[in-house]
């Protein structure tokens, strides 16, 4: 733990080390976190992504102080905070159901944190106005929270958590109660607010699209473990595990033989006999592997001769912006190709036609499992 370089620690906001959390005792015990270590940097929009029960919310609650680790450490700016109660941590939370105080006005809600910190009245009033302006809710300062719509409550909850200028803002699936249009708007708003305030955001979601659109980095979690951390593009283009590839976006799985390993690239011999270049995860070994290819990273061609794979079109689904071709490969596996629709491009392919599939550059990713 002492090996951490001082240059690096100045930019780390939250660091968790070997975090384990067990609920219950004996046979009934459940491991919500099974040894999570991660560093979240200053001014970063960091997302914890995973299905329900993966431990993402437990990790968030542990940073907030509502849960205490069974073992492991939580550090904020290099200081241990794992033992501190929530009110002693300079960390604020936007709750899933907002939890706005129903007996206070919008202004009182937003000023609550500052009031508890002992700020004087004029400063609280100034900060409340400033924060309300940031979420564009100035005219609602004296409203009761019950008079607000879901989207407005969301903004007030955000303002309330931002007003005390926390070191880290935690967001627990805050958009899940909003309808699709409002959710899209709020995604952009959140990203803007993170930029404006420079506060580290830790965002919890099960929605992969939300994670990809907003985050600087995403940690994909499953069964109390972080399975992969990286920028959205890295997670999407280079998933290293079957679960990650499956959970984020649509993808095609193929079997192949890995050979000619050269650093982080290698060659894959597919069932069709053709060889394609592939990106490798760490510690990849030659032999039979599973590879993934995103549907939009493959192309169809009418001439099957020099294609990497050949197959037959089974179903064509038109989506407006693009078209999905569901194919059956010669090996019997299914494969989906997504191609963007061009104006007046017509349809080169019919259901039942024999086609070739070629891969775009860097399209093939080898999985660890």
């Amino acid at each position: 733990m002492t090996s951490k370089s001082s240059a690096n620690s100045s930019s780390v906001a939250i660091e968790v080390q070997g975090l384990i959390k067990t609920f219950g005792t004996g046979d009934a015990s459940v491991k919500a976190l099974d040894g999570v270590s991660v560093s979240i940097y200053e001014n970063e929009f960091f997302t914890l992504l995973g299905p329900s029960g993966c431990g993402k919310t437990t990790l968030l609650r542990m940073i907030a102080g509502f849960e205490h680790p069974t073992s492991g450490h939580v550090l904020l700016g290099g200081d241990h905070i794992g033992h501190l109660p929530p009110f002693m941590r300079p960390v604020n939370t936007v709750f899933q159901n907002y939890a706005l105080f129903p007996h206070m006005t919008v202004g009182e809600n937003i000023g609550f944190g500052l009031e508890m910190l002992g700020k004087d009245k004029s400063e609280i009033a100034r900060k409340v106005d400033q924060t309300l302006a940031m979420v564009r809710m100035e005219e609602y300062v004296n409203r009761k929270t019950s008079q607000l719509s879901g989207g407005q409550q969301q903004r007030v909850a955000l303002a309330r958590a931002l007003a005390p200028e926390p070191r880290v803002l935690l967001l627990d699936e805050p958009l899940s109660a909003l309808d699709l249009k409002l959710r899209k708007e709020m995604q952009i708003e959140l990203k803007r607010m993170q930029h404006e305030t420079g506060i580290t955001f830790v965002f919890v979601t099960h929605d992969q699209e939300e994670a990809l659109t907003m985050s600087d980095r995403v940690a994909v979690m499953k069964d109390g473990l972080i399975r992969q951390i990286g920028a959205p593009r890295e997670i999407y283009d280079h998933p290293t595990e079957r679960f990650v590839a499956h959970f984020i976006g649509e993808t095609n799985f193929l079997e192949g033989e890995l050979h000619d390993i050269n650093g982080s690239t290698g060659m894959i011999k597919l069932a069709s006999g053709s060889n394609v270049p592939a990106s490798l995860p760490d510690e990849a070994a030659a032999g039979t592997v599973t590879v993934v290819v995103r549907p939009e990273h493959a192309l169809l061609s009418t001439s099957p001769d020099n294609a990497s794979l050949t197959g037959e079109v089974k179903t064509i689904v038109y989506f407006g912006t693009d078209t999905h071709y569901h194919l059956e490969l010669e090996s019997g596996d299914s494969f989906v190709v997504r191609m963007q629709n061009q104006r007046d491009s017509g349809t080169d392919y019919q259901e039942g036609s024999k086609v070739g599939i070629t891969f775009k550059d860097n399209a093939v990713q080898v999985l660890k499992d």
Binding site: F87, M88, T93, F95, F101, P102, G113, M116, S146
Partner: protein, 272 residues
């Protein structure tokens, strides 16, 4: 056309006999009260023959010093018992809903609520004997004993609505307060207490009514001269029924009605 009796889920509207039974129960319940109220306004000294309308029995009751003294005593006892019982019940409700589940949680509920199940006469006899021991050992007498007895049996009544309120109250409000730097005491006074206040008020009102209305404990535990209003009323009945009792009862009913309406509004969640 489809038969609604077959297509609807179980619905008492379609069950034969429910309406007449309901009507019968309502009439049986409220007819005596209505008749009692009517005779309270009788101009003559009869509770069976209505002669004319007057407020004379209300006036007589209001001028009766015995009624005045008994009312004041009952109010004093009910007020003291309500305040102490409500504070104790609030603390008990917080302790049983805002702590992590522990061994014997169910036993604690049972112990707090048990006085509701024990026949009141048993409690009264027990209290009489217990207070007798203390009185003879210490030589202390006074109204305090009766107030103490009332406080004790009011606690479970005050506890019920307060606990119900707390159980329906989302814990995230308190979490949010803690997250926004509120230490435990500030969190309680700024968030928990205001949100649970309707439950506390409902508990206090219930306590007050229960204490004011008590007969059995008063009969056994009250010392000489400690005549509460219900005891006075029972005493006058022995000397012959006059509409004065009707008048007192009517006033009590009116006050209780206000309390019941208040209780209803406080315990009904307006948002849902």
């Amino acid at each position: 056309m489809a038969n609604p009796r077959k297509n609807k889920a179980f619905n008492v509207r379609y069950m034969p006999g429910f309406t007449p039974v309901t009507m019968f129960c309502l009439i049986w319940l409220y007819a005596p009260l209505i008749i009692m109220m009517v005779y309270a306004f009788n101009s003559e000294r009869s509770v069976t023959n209505m002669h004319g309308f007057s407020f004379r029995w209300f006036e007589q009751a209001a001028k009766n010093t015995q009624v005045q003294d008994a009312t004041i005593l009952s109010l004093q006892i009910a007020l003291v018992a309500t305040i102490i019982a409500t504070i104790a019940a609030t603390m008990a409700a917080l302790a049983t809903t805002r702590t992590k589940p522990f061994k014997g949680h169910a036993a604690v509920y049972a112990i707090i609520n048990q006085p509701l199940m024990i026949p009141e006469i048993v409690t009264a006899v027990g209290t009489l004997v217990f207070f007798g021991l203390i009185k003879s050992a210490t030589g202390i007498h006074g109204i305090g004993f009766l107030m103490m007895a009332h406080t004790v049996f009011c606690i479970p009544f005050a506890y019920m609505p307060i606990r119900a309120r707390l159980e329906n109250m989302d814990l995230t409000y308190e979490h949010a307060a803690a997250d926004l730097y509120a230490p435990p005491m500030k969190r309680f006074w700024r968030v928990t207490f205001p949100l649970m206040f309707p439950g506390i008020l409902a508990g206090a009102m219930l306590s007050f009514v229960i204490s004011f209305d008590d007969v059995i404990i008063n009969l056994l535990v009250a010392g000489a001269g400690e005549t509460t209003l219900p005891i006075y009323m029972i005493g006058t009945l022995r000397r012959g029924l006059t509409p004065e009792v009707n008048a007192i009862s009517t006033v009590l009913l009116g006050v209780t009605f206000i309390f019941v309406v208040g209780f209803f509004f406080l315990t009904t969640n307006k948002k849902k």
